[in-house]
């Protein structure tokens, strides 16, 4: 029996359970209601229907889910016991490949055998699959009937079916929300696990405070001591994400927010706001391409023209500028929110004193909104330092500790990509270093976000 057929069968059973339980509840309730007591009837008939239907479906469904994982093993064992299996090659991969191929043909996932040897196994497979399929379906049906019958006996006017069904709904919602914790744990575990292995090879102090980043020398077997000093990466990350990008994004974002919220006509605002938001919606790989192919060469030419030494065509400036532009909508919407959160009465108060709009903004609104704006900027920074594609494509790989924005620097995210794709070497300190960098990045952005959210929240509360 195929998956969809079983599914349909169960769905049909559930529907029958629903309908019959509902009908029974309805009948019983009509009688009970005649007695006149309001609380003689607890739940609507539909809830009784759901209660019985769920009892029919859930145990059988759980069983089938387990069976789907257990049955293939049983099937394979049956097939291996078949005489046709005696001719299988000893080598595990070819053997399992043949078996898999036979299974695919038997189950219809594959049309014909690439390997003639597999053909012999198809029939035994088909038989075994059929056999275990029938067993599974029968067991599922028994469970469905048992569950449904048990629930059906409980249908009474005063039975709190609604409460039971709603409890299940709530449990489902709760489980869904727990997934966020599981994901977070997944991140922490996956980063921590590999990082611990890394730190067993490389001294954490050397990693965090070393100024020489050269995983290649580690790979060449010169030892890990001087190879994994991540300071140049941290510097590059800060230089691009927290300095250059912010120099672009903060003034432009803040002033855009001020203009659009305080000056622009509603019509202008209505159009400009989504247009600026597009800047945040452009994929970073597009920015990266743009930075690498259009901005970076132009900046380099400019730097050479004004006689700057060491100008690289993969410059911190190119990546930072483009990243700054990308962040503009982010800063402006945070600033927008913060300024909007300053109560209208502040603005009115200042205007009523005879202040002009710009005086009101500069002397009252911005100072009042400052914590919110700062929080927003911190969030923007955390986003900028986690940004990957722009720096991968435009910032370069040279781990330089430089203040020259026209020089090439590298960042944490660039190195993660570099270490894990392209020329990789698994299980060496070099690969594991990516996870250690990821861990640092995770912790830093986490802290930035926690601080920023705290600041923003506190500030919001101040005006509530």
């Amino acid at each position: 029996m195929t998956g969809p057929a079983i599914f349909l069968l169960l769905a049909g059973l559930g529907a029958i359970a629903w309908v019959s339980a509902r009908a029974r509840a309805l009948r019983l309730q009509t009688v009970a209601r005649a007695s006149g007591r309001r609380d003689a009837v607890h739940s609507l008939p539909g809830y009784h229907g759901w209660y019985v239907a769920l009892w029919t479906l859930i145990p059988a469904g759980i069983f089938l889910a387990i069976w789907a994982n257990v049955a293939p093993g049983l099937v394979t064992q049956t097939v291996l016991a078949d005489p046709a299996a005696q001719s299988l090659p000893a080598d595990a991969f070819s053997r399992s490949a043949l078996l898999g191929e036979a299974r695919n043909i038997a189950s219809g996932a594959q049309a014909a055998a690439f390997n003639p040897a597999a053909q012999a196994l198809v029939e035994p497979y088909r038989a075994a699959i059929r056999e275990y399929g029938i067993i599974g379906v029968v067991l599922a049906l028994v469970l469905a009937f048992a569950g449904g019958a048990y629930a059906f006996t409980r249908v009474r006017p005063d039975f709190r079916a609604r409460t039971r069904v709603e409890r299940l709904v709530m449990a489902t919602l709760l489980i869904a929300s727990l997934l966020a914790i599981v994901t977070t744990l997944g991140i922490v575990v996956s980063l921590l696990w590999e990082s611990i292995r890394f730190f067993s090879m490389v001294n954490p102090i050397d990693f965090l405070f070393g100024t020489k980043w050269s995983p290649q020398s580690a790979a060449l077997g010169y030892g890990n001591k001087d190879a994994f000093g991540a300071v140049p990466l941290f510097w590059g990350t800060i230089f691009i994400g927290a300095i250059i990008a912010m120099i672009v994004a903060i003034p432009l974002g803040l002033m855009s927010a001020i203009y659009l919220t305080q000056y622009a006509r509603p019509q202008v605002r209505k159009w400009m706001k989504p247009i600026l938001e597009v800047l945040a919606g452009v994929p970073t790989v597009v920015y990266g391409y743009f930075a690498a192919l259009t901005i970076a060469p132009a900046l380099r030419d400019f730097a050479v023209a004004i006689g700057i030494h060491g100008a690289s065509s993969e410059s911190a400036l190119a990546a930072g500028l483009v990243m700054g532009v990308m962040i503009i909508p982010f800063v402006s919407s945070m600033a927008d929110d913060s300024i909007a959160a300053v109560p209208q009465s502040m603005r009115d108060g200042s205007l009523a004193m005879g202040a002009t709009t710009s005086e009101t903004i500069r002397k009252v609104l911005i100072p009042a909104a400052l914590p919110g704006v700062v929080g927003g900027v911190l969030l923007a920074v955390s986003r900028a330092i986690g940004e990957t594609m722009i720096v991968v494509m435009a910032a370069g790989l040279a781990a330089n500790l430089t203040l020259n924005p026209f020089a090439s620097v590298t960042t944490v995210t660039t190195q993660i990509v570099q270490l894990l794709t392209g020329d990789q070497e698994f299980d060496s300190a070099k690969t594991l270093a990516a996870f250690a960098l990821g861990l640092v990045l995770f912790i830093v952005t986490l802290l930035l976000n926690i601080v920023a959210l705290r600041v923003v929240k506190k500030y919001r509360e101040a005006y509530e």
Partner: protein
């Protein structure tokens, strides 16, 4: 509707006049032709049920309605005979001359000193630091707050109690030497004791400014004002000497309102 101004005893000096003022929010008319005179050295109370247009009309008097994009004002309003909606009128200066106090105390999130100094600073009224100190002290004294805050002028204005904050806002308005002070339900967010203090303060300020106060509390209107204007559905129903309005309203609507038939 009454387009004729309702003037009172001729002995008083008229500070502001409004003639057939209409205010629209978009298509919706909130004030339907109001004419009124605001007298010097008196407290004028605006009363009326919620939404009748008291605040809207009050805000036309210092052009605060300019800040509402959809608002449009028709009719003539003068201050000392000068049309305040004339192009030559500078709004910034107008608002310094016609100060305003709001329903919810709204001190800036700055120090008490800075709150008071804000107006004089932006208008350039103080010659220097010493001058500013003088202005701050004088304004706080007039607002009846000096003794309570003189030792903590550099604490935040928002750390004061509600009543103190409201007096701080009054002091802030006074600091730019206004001629008229508009108050929109200045006590409705305050407790009875703070309310009594503000009412007392209004009494004291009366001799120096023309004061207009919007209030929901009819007893308060009776206590603090010498003139009362009753608004209803955007119209000025009745305007007169406070004691007359409360004891002997000429209009049925006024009477119904005062006796609590609606609102």
């Amino acid at each position: 509707m009454m387009h004729e101004p309702q003037t009172l005893t001729p002995a008083t000096e008229t500070k502001m006049t409004a003639r057939d003022v209409k205010v629209f929010y978009g298509d919706k008319q909130a004030i339907k032709g109001v004419s009124i005179d605001v007298d010097m050295d008196h407290v004028t109370a605006f009363i009326g049920p919620s939404g009748c247009g008291k605040s809207t009309f009050l805000r036309t008097l210092n052009r605060m309605n300019d800040t509402v994009a959809s608002a449009r004002v028709e009719g003539a309003i003068t201050l000392d005979g000068e049309d305040i909606y004339a192009p030559s009128m500078d709004v910034v200066q107008l608002r310094a001359r016609v100060g305003m106090v709001f329903q919810k105390p709204n001190p800036f999130p700055k120090s008490i000193y800075e709150n008071i100094a804000y107006g004089p600073r932006i208008h350039g009224l103080a010659a220097g630091k010493a001058d500013l100190d003088v202005i701050v002290e004088k304004s706080l004294r007039r607002a009846g707050l000096w003794d309570e805050v003189k030792d903590r002028l550099h604490d935040s204005g928002t750390a004061l109690s509600g009543g103190q904050q409201q007096r701080l806002c009054i002091g802030r308005a006074i600091a730019v030497e206004p001629e008229v002070i508009l108050m929109d339900e200045p006590c409705s967010a305050l407790d009875p004791i703070a309310t009594a203090k503000i009412e007392e303060l209004i009494h004291e300020l009366r001799g120096r400014y023309a004061i207009v106060i919007v209030t929901h509390n009819m007893q308060q209107a009776a206590r603090v004002s010498q003139r009362t204007a009753f608004f209803h559905l955007g119209e000025l129903v009745e305007y007169g000497v406070t004691s007359d309005i409360f004891t002997n309203p000429r209009q049925e609507r006024t009477k119904d309102y005062i006796t609590g038939r609606y609102g």
